[in-house]
Structures are given as structure tokens and as C-alpha cells.
Symmetry: C2
Subunit: 132 residues, 2 copies
Amino acid sequence: MTVSIPERYTDLLGREKKAFAYLALVRSDGSPQVTPIWFDFDGAHFIFNTARGRVKDRIMHRHPKVAFVITDPDNPYRYMQVNGQIEDETEEGAADMIRSLNVKYHGNPNYNIPPGQVRVTYKVLAERISTM
Amino acid sequence: MTVSIPERYTDLLGREKKAFAYLALVRSDGSPQVTPIWFDFDGAHFIFNTARGRVKDRIMHRHPKVAFVITDPDNPYRYMQVNGQIEDETEEGAADMIRSLNVKYHGNPNYNIPPGQVRVTYKVLAERISTM
């Protein structure tokens, strides 16, 4: 089951807007966690990228349910709330993906990946979207 | 156990900054939920206010662990991540509290509480704070 993006809010997903996602996850002890994170949208999936072994990675690897808010940086009262399911997790192309996100947010592809760090890309399908 | 606010970030809690909290909660089915919410800080507690019966209220009433991010509206790369425990839940003074929050965010106390709506205030003690 997927849902479509309300048309009046698609600008929040565009590369010009540079909006952040506030990604909520559930730790293994049942307590919540939330972090701002870069994202991209490929027309179907919300795409997140993190480093292998970080808390976000460990939780998402284990627990496929996520929720996030994407707020208009120009208006905090305008936002999209998404509940979704991780559909894909891959290291393939993940280093290129973080460079591509660096282009979106900082305008250049020179994202420094420390030696030994492995990047991982998570693709999320929205199951419920509400907008404000 | 409580923790202190890093001094360089106390401006995020001030009334001038008008920052939002992105509040993450865990639903009864174990999936995460996140919403932008107004907050205040009384020097010890983070204060949230919602309407009795809303999803946020039902979760917080049942599950005292919360997490939230407070981001500088002027710089999305500057934020405070808080994990906390609800220490108090009360309807007493809660209508005045939402009016006070309306003063903080909109500069006036005329917050419209629909007939029959009961407000509730949650006070959270921070257990872990990290800053970026």
C-alpha cells in the first residue's frame, strides 16, 4: 500500500527547498528517537542515507517502520507528516547518494567520507501522509 | 536523573527564538510518530500542551518516554536532541498554558479553545541532551 503526495506540498520534496526530515525511530528498549536528516525523493521513495553502524542504521536495519515530518524551512506551520515502511536497504551506490545529497543541501559533491566508513541508503514507501 | 542545558544552546529555549520541538512518540503498535509542537521551558521542565484525547495525549498518558529535537529556526544545522521522561501531566492551568504559548508564538493570548475541548499540560525532564 502506498499513498500519493498531495500536489500542493510537492515543493517540500524538491531540491530547491532544502527541507530536512525529522526522522523518528523506535529503539530496542521501546523509547523513541528523533533526528534531523537529509533526504531525497525519487518520485516514489523517500531516500535516507547514513553510515553503517550508527544508531539510525542499527534501528532501521532491524525495524522497518519509520515516521518523519518534513517542514517548509520558510514556514514552520506548513509541513508533511509521513508514516512509512522501509522497502530497500543497500550499500550499493550509497557513497554516490550522500554526495548527491551534499549537492542538494550544500551545492557541491565533495562530501567527506572518512576512511573505513560504509554508507547505506534506505528507501521508504509512504503508507500514510497528512499535511498541515 | 536530570541533565543541564548546554549554555551555548539556551537561546533555542527562549521565547524570542520561537523554535518548535519535533516530538517523537511510540504508538501502542510499536511504530513511531512525530509532530511539530509548541513548547516552553520553565528552567527545569520542557512543557508541552495538547488537547485531551488527541493521539499525542493518548500516547503520552500511557508511555512516559519521549524524544524531541529543537532546531534553531535560523540555522537547521544547529539543534538540540533531547530524550526525556514525563514527570507531570495536568489539566490544571492548561488552558492558561496554551494561551501563554500563543503569546510566545503569535504574540497574543487569544487562543481559541473550542467548546468542550480540555487542554492538558505535560512536563518533561530531560534525561539526555546532545547538541549539534
